[in-house]
Symmetry: C2
Subunit: 152 residues, 2 copies
């Protein structure tokens, strides 16, 4: 019984570290893992209790996880409290959120840097900085190619 708990605690601790790799804060990662290891949807009060944090804190954590599409709210008849649970097929969810974030960023930055390049070309013919701008654009292009090659 307590032995099972130590195993669960270890799992929470270790798996959270992998979740953190997806650019998720340590506490949010821990919250996610707790929810994931619980086979039933959980209420804010339950999560607050397990996390040892205030309900407000858990509330904001859940909010960010929902925004990332990693947690969803579910309803169960007869239960008034909000219930939250993790989605199935973790891998797709995480990779989708992660790659989407990268692709989105690269797209925006490519445009931004192109715009700066325009300005530089107009005013500043033949300056050294132009080499760097071209390198930056190439850098983004390579990243883009790398992440687009990947499939879920």
């Amino acid at each position: 019984m307590t032995l099972v708990d130590t195993i669960t605690n270890q799992l929470i601790h270790e798996f959270s570290k992998t979740i953190e790799m997806f650019d998720i804060s340590p506490t949010d990662a821990r919250l996610f893992t707790i929810l994931y290891l619980n086979h039933q949807p959980m209420t804010l009060d339950e999560m607050s209790q397990v996390m040892g944090k205030s309900k407000t804190s858990v509330n904001t954590g859940i909010r960010t996880l929902i925004d990332l599409n990693l947690v969803k709210q579910v309803w169960k008849k007869g239960v008034r409290k909000n219930l939250y649970t993790t989605d199935k097929n973790l891998y797709q969810r995480f990779m989708q959120a992660y790659l989407g974030k990268w692709r989105n960023h690269i797209n925006i930055q490519k445009q931004t840097i192109h715009a700066i390049q325009e300005k530089a070309n107009h005013r500043d013919q033949g300056h050294l900085i132009e080499n760097r701008i071209n390198e930056m654009i190439e850098f983004h292009r390579l990243i883009e190619a790398s992440f687009n090659k990947r499939r879920l």
Copy 2:
């Protein structure tokens, strides 16, 4: 002149955001970009001046960048101060550091979770948690496959 500077500042600002995507802190990313846009190696004092931060702060920043293999120290005869510069082919450097970090983490966590699984099997036959452990292992396996498929 000042116009060129605003363009440079914009470049610093924008490119830093991409560097941050590689899990590098905003100030370290800015430091790297400043060094990258400077066509000459820089001293601590110069970087301190451009960053508007203390020399101590720049020193620690450079240290972490060197540890990540993104910056190296160079020597120039007649110059006493330490000189630092960014490496060529950014893309390879960053991807190598980044993918290496992922692969390393996944390897370690796979082993750790397997060890926990052993313990769980010994003591806790047929418990629900075992399903989750298998899912976790599969999760890591998929990530590993995804990152190994990638080439620089």
